[in-house]
Structure formats: structure tokens, C-alpha cells
């Protein structure tokens, strides 16, 4: 299929478009079993993906579904549907198209299953649900192509792993199915190709012209950035100026809370009353859609946003991207930059705004990396087994299955191609019996082996519960926020339960750019009223906290080896010179540790450069080691680069703290009881189907019948420490929140080369750490003591102490 039919050529001509070379090539290679297109943002990727489908359908009638399109975003699916309807109508093509997401109405879902459209647009979760139905094979009968959009975003997550397992299923239904992946620029296309192809088949890679180099720089400001913090309030005036000079500016932030604060400050400085919007994942969907619509119409001059705008919806004419705060990750930075000048072959324009002095260094390192075209990324390792467990249950919902056949099918999925039969069997046993050392569920197995050897659900009703819990996205516990009104006011968005718990009536916080006052909690909804006067307490959306990538950290270390730094602003270069003359700068392949007294405490700073999650974990492990060694640590604070620990006694022998075996042991023993591990467990146990997020009867929260997943974790630790779910939790600890893998990487990198400096006072590089938020007290006896003190205070205050005299214990 090399030739573009006349009908299509004419249509392109009437629009004044030319077919891009990579779109032509996609057509030429439409028969490849797997094909991955790497194209920069704005390169007409989606059309490249659909052109072969449209031409095929225009030339030969097709019965049933022809092409399945998968996108990570619901919004993307409806956006694509809109964009495809134009050529379909204008060329009068005999093509039906429909989308299905979690929001699609029941009646339309039923119609889609009975009479599938030619082009079907959906998300990984909806696809997983569809293959769980008994009639899955019928719905996808005759399917020829599957197009996976933004596969680079999916390949980084469990959503992608789940999708690949679902594709393996589809490939069994339709052996000739062709796979097409569409990806933004990534560091290692071969990894994604291997990920998406049917294993062991290969996957062709098509690299589109990357387009002109971006026009990217650090934003010059009159005021130097502060020593610490992430708000970048110092740059408000300079950013406002840029907004005025451009048509539409996207202002990216790393966290939702920072986006809220920045938006608030920008609004205060918006003397001309320019239309500026805010967009992030905690806002009410209706509000988000309103902002998106205004943006498409070109009504907005700037949008303050987070990763919620990272993926490729066509947002109209953005001519400037501003990244506030260090980008943390070069690949994501490049993808964000690509959002400006969403036109093929036009350079993107972007500005970086470091939020503090250290981030100036990181921004310069990131700019170097972008110019050198060096992207970053950490290999993910084999697909996690919690997703595998869920897929086994999904398969069981569709009907009896043969374990050997299912195993063979799963190993054709890229992320699971190295899965061993024993590992698979452990997952199957977990799904069937729970997989406990104590065989307790002989009578009530979830899956039963039938006399013909195949497996099926014991209780057919459980398929409903399994379907209700499909998916791998973990929403943290959030509460809805709405205006207090007599009949339920306007929904504003969501805040985390943990944050809501710290609010007292009268407290103020920011949401959706407005200051609101906490009034109370009703039916698990936070009720607020408008309040323009007070300074807001900040909403702490934890959201995703990105850690600076291994490669970018290494670049920063490399930058420190220079004798001078002409690329850095003078204020930052001077700071580094000062550090070098007083102490030393951290160096590649070595670990710098500084110890000095400050504020009546012994301080120790470890420049580990292991990313914020890894450094946080290191803080937990080292303070425990120090407690054991009698050094009386009192607390610590971690950043992407450094860890500051304070305590009563001076650290004399720093290398003794850094024994990898001892750190490993700490991870297995005492860190096992840590809240971070429990959160990892909850996520995996939910995905694997041990914990149900949704059940037919129960309404979540507030009821005494539900109990915390921490209890399950503790029980397993106590009675079944080798259980599959604990194995998976330990595997998860190597990445994500615990990120022990980065600590191992650090230990390998430094190889025992530790420079421990004893200094008379705080060093220039360490000083900003004292201003960092997020100090962690060393727990243990401390919590019990604080609680007793608070109890005493409350009893005293209420007068109850006189009524109920507390006798001696």
C-alpha cells in the first residue's frame, strides 16, 4: 500500500497540506507486523497512524472493527474522534468511528459491543474491561490494526504493562493483527519497540525528521533566585512580561501545589487583566474541560499547568513554553518544549525558570543535555507481577482458560517475555487460593481447576467484583471539595485526605486559583466558602513527585568538575567558588560528606545525588543506623541531591555508615515497617486483587467494616513473610517511592571513595538545606511521648483531668 489514492491526494490539496515523508513511509510499511513511529510533538503522528486505516477502508468494505486506537487519556480519545470525523465526512468515506472510556453511557457501550464501529477509540483500562467479557472475541473479530498513541508515556507505567497483556489476548483472537506505536522523542526507541512488539517478533522503527533545534534558554531575571524553595515567586514579573509578549504561553510546574501558588501570584500581578487559566489533575473535570475549551478557542493568553497537559492534545497556537522549577528529567523537558509551536518544522521556544539557586545549576545541566540531544531514562526491568495477577483474574472473567496457553500468551507480551513458568504459577496460585503457606481456602478458592484441567471462577458472581476493580492507576485517598450551599454548591476539585485532616474550620487554602475557607466535612466532602482576605494555607497535593533522573544528576556532578562556570549566572558561579574554597564540590565517582555544628546540633550532609525518593529512603536507613550506633539522630531532610541529618553526637566514622549489606538489611527489616513500604503494598495488593477498591455493596470510607490495608501487611509480615505480595512489595521498593535501586546505583558509583570533611560551620552548599521544607523527625519513642504530652494538655484544658484523675500507672 504505497500509493496515496487520488481521493486522499485531492483532499490534502484542498486543505493546502502536503503529506509528510514519515506519513508516506508509514503507508509504505503498513504491512509490518509491528511498527514504531518516533516523531516530535506536532509532527502529524496521529494522521500517520490512521492514514493506512482510512485508505484501507476507503478501498475495501470491512465487516466489524478494523482499527483499535488506544490512548492514555480519555480526552485524547475524544479529541482524535473529532479530528478524524473531518476527513471522513469531507471525503465521504464509508467509515464508522466511536469512542469508549469510563464516561461512556451504558446504552452506547452495549451498542458498541453488539455492532462494533470500524475505528474504535479507547483507553487501556476500558480495553482490559472489554476483554473480560465472554463475547470479547466477537467484538474484536476481524480486527486488523491497533494504534497505540503516546506509547512512550504508557511504556513507563503499569498501565502499559496491562495494555501489552491485553494486546497479547487480542493477538490470540486475531493472529494477523498489526501493531502501530506512536511515540514522542525518547532516548531508546529500541526499548519501546521491544516493549510493544509481539515477542519474539521484531518491530520496525521509523524515525521522523526531529525538526529544527528548539530555541531554549534560562529566563533572565533582575532578582536572583532564592536559596531554597520551589515557588519561583521572584520570577513573577519576568514571566508576566513574557506572557504579554507572546500569543499563548504554557507555564509548566512539577507539582499541583506549586501551580496553585504560582497562579495565585501571577493573578495578583496581572494588572492588565489578561485571561489566564489553571489546569491540573486535582481540579474538577468540568472546570478542566472549560479551560481546555477556552484554550482551543484561543481565548487564553497563558495556562498554568502540570503534567496533566503533558500529553499530546492539540491545544492550538502555543508559541512559548515556560518550565518553572528544575525539569528533573531531560526527556520530559524536551516533550514539554515540543508543545510550543505545534507546527511541523517550526522551532519550539522555551524558557526555564529555576526556583532556587541549586536549580540554576540543574537547569544549565539540562540545557546542555537538550542541546546535545541526550535524553534520559532508567530501564524498568521486567513487568511487575501484580499486573499479571489482575490479568489472570480478567481472563477468568471471560471464561475457563488453560494455564499453559495463558502462560504462553503472556510471554508474548514485551514486558513479560522473560517470565518464568514458576513465577506465573505463583501468580495463578495467588489468584486461585491466595497462595498462603497456610492452605485455608480449599472450599472457597477464587479459581477452581475443572475436570478438563482448565481454570474457572468458583463463584460466577465474583466476575462483577473483579470488573469493578480493573485498572492499575492508584488514586490516593482524596476528598471532594465543594462550595457550601444549601443544596450542594459548585464542585471545585479534590484534596488529599491527609491534608484535609490537618485543617481546622477557618483555615484557608488555594484550589483552582481561589482562596477558600474550610467550613467542615459533610458526607466525605470538604465544604468551603469563598475567602479573599487571608493568606492561604497551602494545599499539599502530593501528586507525583518526580526525582531528578540518574543522567541529569550525573551531568550536574560533571558540571562541578569545571574550574569555572561561564554558563552560570555570576551569583551562582560565586556560590560554587565559595563552596570549593571552604570545603569541596561533590565529584563524580566520589561521595562528599560534611559534618559541622550548627544551631546547637551536630549536622551531617551527604551529597548522594540519588534523587529525592532515594535520598529520603537513605535518610530513613542512615538515621536508623545512627540510632543503633548511639549517635542520637533527631531528624533529617532530603532533596534530589543531598541529605541533611541532625543529631546530638558528631559522626566520626562516616564510611562505617555506608555498608551496602547493612543498608539492604535495613530495607528488609526495620524499613519493612515503614509507611512508604505500606503504601507500596497497598498499591500492589489493590492491583493484584487482594484489596478491592470498589465493591458492589460498600460505600467507601467512614464505615467500621472496612479495615486498613496496613493490617494485612503487618499480618503477612508476621505469619507469611515469603508471601507473593510481600515479594512484589520488595520488588517495588527498588523503584518508585522507595527507590532503593538509586541507592544501589550510588553505592556502585562511589565504590567506597568517601571524602568526609569536618568543618567549623555550615558550608555554602549546605546552607540552603536548612531552609528546606519536609523535615522528617526520627520516630519511635518520640511519637508516644508527643501523644502523651498532647493528651495531658487536652485533659488539663478541658477540665476532665479533675473529673477523671489519672492514677499512677
Amino acid at each position: 500500500m504505497c500509493q496515496v489514492p487520488q481521493l486522499f491526494q485531492d483532499w490534502f490539496a484542498t486543505r493546502g497540506w502536503a503529506i509528510h515523508p514519515h506519513q508516506q513511509q508509514m503507508l509504505a510499511r503498513a504491512d509490518a507486523a509491528s511498527l514504531l513511529l518516533i516523531a516530535p510533538t506536532g509532527g502529524g503522528k496521529t494522521l500517520a497512524g490512521f492514514l493506512p486505516t482510512l485508505i484501507d477502508l476507503a478501498q475495501a468494505p470491512h465487516d466489524g472493527m478494523h482499527t483499535l486506537y488506544i490512548s492514555p487519556l480519555k480526552a485524547l480519545a475524544s479529541d482524535i474522534q473529532r479530528n478524524l470525523i473531518t476527513p471522513i465526512h469531507e471525503m465521504s468515506l464509508p467509515v464508522t468511528i466511536d469512542a469508549r472510556t469510563g464516561d461512556t453511557a451504558q446504552s452506547r457501550r452495549r451498542r458498541q459491543r453488539a455492532d462494533p464501529p470500524h475505528i474504535f477509540l479507547t483507553t487501556p483500562e476500558s480495553l482490559a474491561l472489554l476483554i473480560s467479557y465472554e463475547d470479547g472475541a466477537h467484538m474484536f473479530k476481524g480486527l486488523k490494526r491497533v494504534v497505540i498513541d503516546e506509547i512512550h508515556a504508557l511504556a513507563d507505567s503499569k498501565r502499559g504493562d496491562q495494555l501489552m497483556l491485553a494486546l497479547a489476548r487480542l493477538q490470540t483472537f486475531c493472529p494477523d493483527l498489526k501493531r502501530v506505536g506512536l511515540s514522542a522523542t525518547v532516548e531508546d526507541p529500541a526499548t519501546i519497540a521491544q516493549y510493544m512488539a509481539r515477542h519474539p517478533d521484531g518491530c520496525d522503527i521509523l524515525l521522523a525528521d526531529p525538526g529544527p533545534a528548539p530555541d531554549i534558554a534560562m529566563l533572565a531575571t533582575d532578582t536572583p533566585p532564592p536559596w531554597s524553595g520551589g515557588g519561583a515567586a521572584y520570577a513573577i514579573a519576568a514571566v508576566m512580561e513574557q506572557v504579554k509578549q507572546h500569543k499563548t504561553t504554557l507555564i509548566f510546574h512539577n507539582t499541583r501545589a506549586q501551580a496553585e501558588i504560582f497562579f495565585h501570584n501571577l493573578w495578583l500581578a496581572n494588572d492588565d487583566g489578561l485571561p489566564i487559566g489553571i489546569h491540573h489533575g486535582s481540579l474538577d473535570p468540568a472546570q478542566r474541560r472549560a479551560v481546555e475549551a477556552a484554550m482551543v478557542r484561543g481565548d487564553l493568553r497563558a495556562i498554568v499547568c502540570t503534567g496533566s497537559l503533558d500529553l499530546g492534545i492539540d491545544w492550538g497556537d502555543v508559541d512559548l513554553v515556560i518550565q518553572i522549577g528544575a525539569p528533573k528529567n531531560v526527556k520530559r523537558l524536551v516533550q514539554r518544549i515540543g508543545r510550543a509551536n505545534h507546527r511541523y518544522n517550526a522551532p519550539s521556544k522555551a524558557l526555564l525558570v529555576p526556583a532556587n539557586r541549586f536549580e540554576v545549576v540543574e537547569c544549565v545541566a539540562a540545557l546542555d543535555a537538550v542541546r546535545a540531544g541526550e535524553l534520559d531514562g532508567d530501564p524498568r526491568g521486567p513487568g511487575p507481577r501484580d499486573v499479571l495477577c489482575q490479568h489472570i483474574l480478567i481472563t477468568a472473567c471471560a471464561g475457563p482458560f488453560d494455564a499453559g496457553a495463558l502462560y504462553a500468551e503472556m510471554t508474548t507480551a514485551g514486558p513479560y517475555c522473560t517470565l518464568g513458568r514458576a513465577e506465573f504459577d505463583a501468580c495463578l496460585d495467588f489468584c486461585a487460593t491466595g497462595g498462603y503457606a497456610l492452605k485455608a481456602y480449599d472450599r472457597w478458592q477464587r479459581l477452581l481447576q475443572r475436570s478438563d484441567g482448565r481454570w474457572q471462577l468458583r463463584d460466577p458472581r465474583s466476575s462483577q467484583r473483579i470488573r469493578m476493580n480493573i485498572g492499575t492507576i492508584q488514586d490516593s485517598d482524596t476528598l471532594k471539595v465543594r462550595m457550601r450551599r444549601s443544596r450542594g454548591g459548585k464542585p471545585l476539585g479534590e484534596i488529599e485526605e491527609a491534608f484535609a485532616a490537618t485543617l481546622t474550620p477557618g483555615d484557608t487554602f488555594l484550589i483552582g486559583g481561589q482562596i477558600v475557607k474550610y467550613e467542615g466535612l459533610r458526607d466525605m466532602t470538604v465544604e468551603v466558602s469563598r475567602d479573599g482576605r487571608k493568606k492561604p494555607k497551602i494545599a499539599t497535593f502530593t501528586g507525583t513527585k518526580f526525582a531528578t533522573s540518574t543522567q541529569l544528576s550525573a551531568r550536574v556532578l560533571d558540571l562541578f568538575t569545571g574550574s569555572d562556570w561561564p554558563d552560570l549566572p555570576a551569583h551562582t558561579a560565586e556560590w560554587l567558588h565559595l563552596q570549593r574554597s571552604f570545603s569541596a564540590l561533590p565529584q563524580p565517582g566520589r561521595l562528599l560528606i560534611e559534618s559541622f555544628p550548627h544551631e546547637g546540633r551536630e549536622q551531617t550532609v551527604i551529597y548522594g545525588f540519588a534523587g529525592r525518593n532515594g535520598m529520603q529512603t537513605l535518610g530513613l536507613l542512615l538515621t536508623k543506623r545512627m540510632e543503633d550506633l548511639g549517635l542520637h539522630p533527631l531528624g533529617f531532610v532530603a532533596t534530589d541531591y543531598a541529605l541533611l541529618i541532625w543529631g546530638l553526637d558528631q559522626v566520626q566514622n562516616a564510611p562505617a555508615l555506608f555498608d551496602l549489606a547493612a543498608l539492604h538489611k535495613g530495607l528488609d527489616t526495620w524499613l519493612a515497617g515503614n509507611a512508604v513500604m505500606k503504601r507500596s503494598f497497598r498499591a500492589s495488593a489493590t492491583i493484584a486483587g487482594l484489596i478491592e477498591r470498589n465493591s458492589p455493596q460498600s460505600r467507601k470510607s467512614g464505615r467500621q467494616t472496612t479495615f486498613s490495608s496496613d493490617i494485612l501487611y503487618d499480618t503477612l509480615q508476621k505469619y507469611d513473610p515469603d508471601h507473593l505480595m510481600l515479594q512484589i512489595t520488595r520488588e517495588e521498593a527498588l523503584r518508585g517511592l522507595v527507590d532503593f535501586g538509586r541507592i544501589e546505583e550510588m553505592m556502585t558509583r562511589i565504590g567506597g571513595r568517601i571524602d568526609h570533611r569536618h568543618l567549623p560551620h555550615v558550608s555554602p552548599l549546605a546552607a540552603p538545606l536548612f531552609l528546606e521544607m519536609g523535615r522528617v523527625p526520627v520516630k519511635g519513642a518520640a511519637e508516644e511521648r508527643l501523644l502523651a504530652e498532647e493528651a495531658g494538655r487536652l485533659m488539663e484544658l478541658s477540665g476532665l483531668a479533675q473529673i477523671h484523675p489519672a492514677p499512677a500507672p
Partner: protein
Amino acid sequence: MKAHDFTLAGVQLKALNTGALWWPEKHLLCVSDLHLGKSERIARRGGTVLPPYETRDTLTRLAADLALTAAQTVVCLGDSFDDPQAARALRAEESLLITRLQHGRHWIWVEGNHDPGPIDQGGNHQSEIQIAQLSFRHIATAGASGEVSGHFHPKVSVAIGGGRVTRPAFLYDRDRLILPAYGTYTGGLNSTSNVFRQLMQPDACAVMTGRTAIAIPMPRTAR
């Protein structure tokens, strides 16, 4: 023994940090809402297959409290079993452990909404029971006095140092005492719930369980 001492209807009582109630004068230990066999019941009804260790864990903790107090009378205040079938489905070694705990003791099963009707596990079965000045029943009744009950699984939250600690708790005022759930697989209902605001007097006290027993004024408003 880590406990908070208090009086109810003139009776000296100890709220143990483990969640059990100790009445020294009568050598009586009272526990509520054990929910033995919960994992079995959930699996039977087509739910998930939870770690099947909660019965063993609950009974092991109860054994420790019995050893600590040398109790002669034990009152299980209802919902001792997650349902009657769960009671029959206990593993042999779990049944045996109960029998061993009952040996030489006066053992009373008060019935709860989860386990109405007699249970074939030894001991004495009652819908409710009066002992001296105190009446033991599963669910609190409005207007009662000198009443000890369970059912609601009370818990309380306290804000300390920027965070929040939530623990199962006893709630008591001059008329009644509500015990926390003793079973391993049990959640809790916060003291700020309307249920407790209506049942408990304004000067009610909460005793948090945990490493020690800590008494605070019962938190009444969500914050």
C-alpha cells in the same frame, strides 16, 4: 499492665492498652468484636482471599491478656465470630486454642448482630448479661446506665506535630462504656461520628489503645 483506670457506676475498671477491659474485683476480662473467621467468610461470599491468619492472631493476643490478668471470667461482647458459619468453619487448631483458653474459666459469649444464636464452641451463651452493677450487651441502648457494649468499633484521631495519629479507643462517660474492636481484621468508626455524638455525654472520655493506654477528652468534631 498498661491501663487507664476509671470508674463506671461505682465500679473500678481498667482499660488495657490492648483493647481489653479488666475488672479486677471480679477477675473479669471483657473483649468485644473479635470477628473470628472473617477471612473465611469473605472468601466464601465470593470476595477476595485475605491472609487467613487473623483468627490465630486475635486468639494469640487474647491468650496473652488472659495470662497477664489471670482472668477467671471472660465476657466476649458479641460479634465474636464474623457469622455463625464462620464459627463452625474454624480450623481444628483454632478451635482447640479456644478450648484451651476456656479451660478453668467461666466463659460467656454475648451474642452480636454477626453471631446471633448459640455457638458450638463451649462456654455460656447469652443475649446480654448483668454482673453486679454492670450490664453487658453488644449494642448500646439509649438511656441505659452502667452499660458496657461494643459493636461500633470506636477509634479516635489526635493531631500531633503536624501529623495525625488514629487508634482504636474505649469511649466512656458516667453512664456507659463502649469497647474498641479487639479482632485483628477490624476497622473503626471515628468518635466524631454522629452515632457517638448522640450516645456519649459532652464530657465523655476516650482511651486510645497502643503501646500505652492514653486518655483524652473524646474528640467530637471532624477537623
